[in-house]
């Protein structure tokens, strides 16, 4: 395999590697007929990312030496990233980048041709591997959102960088709502809840019903978002219901990128249904909407809370809601039977930087080569990655 990238595309390639590094620790490089694919998956298998660079992206693209099978390899993300670590340096000094993989040598060679005749050669060791392929299809997702990356960038701006998960949904009046998600386990330390509401007019495509919502890892999403913002592309989000993976896609004539993230499957006892009324209020909801604000004090049920608090023993300020203030009409979400098998799914490993995987249903990855690992259909146990033989 031999690929030559020139000019500003070197920085684009570098940015893509940075994005991928937010997801996984290993980079799967595979030269295909359609172009060079760079893929990664996180250790809990709850996030998959793939960039495909078309042959036209390169000044020269040779997937495989004639007569030979195309080679596939897996490299440590850290090693590959170190070549493209400084994007500023790439932009200023690198004129060409050549990536080559020779069947005989055991090294992936990345050469940076820089100004003033400087040539940097990186010999990265790799492992042979199976093709990493996630099973997903945007076409089967009933809901689609598409907006310029800039709009989505502004949408996530109010959220702290440390926030792990966010809920995205459609609220009243076709407004797109993003809300910070807190795991119930942390309810002793109450965190601030932030919600951002954007009008549907800012979106190029909005095909989703009011009330649908999914919760996914914001940190992983930011990886693709920053790439899309720098390339000034539109980002599409294909999703289904909670628990089904969400597909984030960008595309232009020379490349396309897909991030597939697992979404929270467990129904939330405090529903993240962004359309639902707040607990106490039978009246219209309080979150963002373009209708005149409901500033009537009657909606703030703090008085009944205060009364209850003042009368409790040792009134230090009880944190639990008195049950009298629950609206009688409130019904917690019922958990559909089909979700029960996934409830207990616990992933063995936790990777720092990705959310605790225990509630995320793992994506199913099929190995597309070995017939012994034929797809079993939706199942909580993913097919074993055959890298054990490496």
């Amino acid at each position: 395999m031999k690929c030559l990238v020139t000019g500003s595309n070197v920085k684009v390639l570098g940015k893509a590697v940075h994005s991928l590094s937010r997801i996984g620790d290993e980079l799967y490089l595979e030269p295909l007929e359609d172009g060079l694919s760079l893929r990664t998956v996180n250790s809990s298998r709850s996030a998959y990312a793939c960039f495909l660079f078309a042959p036209l992206f390169f000044q020269q693209y040779q997937a495989a030496t004639p007569g030979q099978d195309p080679l596939r390899c897996k490299i440590l993300m850290k090693s590959f990233l170190s070549v493209f670590r400084s994007l500023a340096m790439l932009e200023k000094t690198v004129e060409k980048c050549c990536i080559s993989l020779n069947g005989r040598s055991s090294r992936l060679v990345v050469q940076l041709y820089c100004k003033y005749g400087v040539r940097k050669t990186h010999n990265l060791s790799f492992q042979d591997c199976e093709s990493l392929q996630a099973v997903f299809d945007p076409a089967v997702c009933p809901h689609v959102l598409c907006a310029p990356a800039r709009v989505l960038g502004e949408a996530v701006l109010p959220f702290p960088p440390a926030l792990a998960e966010v809920t995205l949904g459609i609220g009243r009046g076709h407004r797109i709502i993003l809300r910070s998600y807190q795991e119930e386990a942390d309810s002793t330390v109450k965190a601030m809840v932030t919600e951002m509401s954007i009008g549907g007019e800012d979106f190029q495509q909005l095909q989703a019903q009011e009330g649908v919502a999914i919760t996914f890892c914001l940190k992983e999403f930011r990886g693709l978002l920053s790439f899309a913002e720098s390339a000034n592309l539109s980002l599409s989000i294909y999703f289904d219901g909670p628990g089904r993976p969400a597909i984030f896609a960008i595309k232009d004539s020379l490349l396309d990128g897909h991030f597939v993230l697992a979404t929270l499957s467990e129904p939330d006892p405090h529903p993240q249904d962004l359309r639902a009324p707040e607990l106490q209020q039978p009246a219209p909801q309080l979150q963002a909407h373009s209708t005149p604000h409901l500033d009537d004090f009657a909606l703030d049920d703090i008085d009944s809370y205060m009364i209850a608090m003042e009368t409790t023993v040792g009134s230090e300020g009880s944190r639990t809601l008195p049950s009298t203030s629950l609206s009688p009409g409130f019904q917690p979400h019922c958990s559909p039977g089909s979700h029960s098998e996934e409830e207990d799914d616990t992933e063995p490993s936790t990777v720092p930087g990705t959310p605790p995987p225990k509630k995320f249903r793992s994506l199913f990855f099929g190995s597309i080569l070995a017939p012994a690992h034929s797809p079993q259909g939706p199942s909580p146990v993913l097919a074993e990655d055959s890298e054990g033989e490496g």
Binding site: M192, T194, G317
Partner: protein, 258 residues
């Protein structure tokens, strides 16, 4: 118990944000007292090793275009809330391009201060950011600990030099010693001094001016040349100086005899 306020002026919002940032730098949790004409931020850090304790008063009229509150009862027309100071400053940080900012006391599973921000947007549709800051309502019986501290009559009071200058000086001194000696007299002279075995460094300020002394009692420092001296922990002073985001018209340092 109700509270609702609206802020529309950009300069007011800026000032309010800076006050909030200052508080966030000083302590993790603070008390917000809401009364009909004022907002107070109170930090009463009664830690044995000496922390920063602070009382900050804002005239609500200077900030909010609308302000309505109803306290716990008619006789006790105030609301005391405890909150994590960083939450408020983070919420206000997202209001850089706000058209309208509203703060409300609400109850969403637990008591919250809801900050709702309508952003200026280039597109036709409005964008709204809402933050629900969890608060703890402080019961009446604890209010007595959160009253305005009475400032005793000072022996010496002096106007401070530009805080930024003072901060950069104290920051350099921090590397040499843990304790700073502040000397001041009623003649507008202030010295910042550190003393170690090897070295002694003093920075002198002159012509600073002194606020009029309230006390009629004969202070031993009436002799205006004589310096009153205090030793303080440098890091605590730096914590205070570093947090200052509000540019004061006057900052006064007073020494009291206990």
């Amino acid at each position: 118990m109700k509270f609702r306020a609206k802020l529309v002026d950009a300069a007011c919002l800026n000032n309010f944000t800076r006050v909030s940032n200052t508080i966030a730098k000083l302590a993790k949790t603070c008390t917000l007292r809401i009364s009909p004409d004022k907002l107070n931020f109170i930090l009463s850090d009664k830690v044995a090793n000496g922390g920063v304790s602070m009382w900050c008063e804002l005239e609500q009229e200077n900030f909010f275009s609308e302000f309505q509150m109803e306290g716990v009862s008619a006789e006790n027309n105030a609301i005391y809330l405890e909150l994590t100071s960083e939450n408020l400053s983070r919420a206000l940080k997202t209001a850089q391009n706000a058209r309208v900012l509203k703060i409300k006391l609400t109850n969403k599973h637990f008591p919250c201060l809801t900050v709702s921000i309508e952003l200026l947007s280039v597109s036709s549709s409005s964008r709204v950011v809402t933050h629900d800051i969890p608060v703890k309502v402080i019961p009446r019986k604890l209010w007595k600990d959160l009253q305005e501290p009475t400032v005793p009559d000072a022996d010496v009071s002096i106007y401070l030099p530009v805080l930024k200058t003072m901060k950069s000086i104290v920051e350099k001194m921090k590397n040499i010693s843990n304790h700073l000696i502040i000397e001041a007299n009623l003649n507008g002279e202030l010295n910042l001094k550190i003393e170690t075995e090897l070295v002694c460094v003093t920075t002198h300020f002159k012509d600073l001016g002194n606020p009029p002394l309230a006390s009629e009692n004969a202070s031993q420092y009436r002799n205006s040349e004589q310096m009153a001296e205090v030793h303080i922990d440098i890091r605590k002073l730096l914590q205070f100086l570093a947090g200052q985001q509000v540019n004061p018209t006057k900052a006064t340092c007073s020494k009291f005899a206990f």
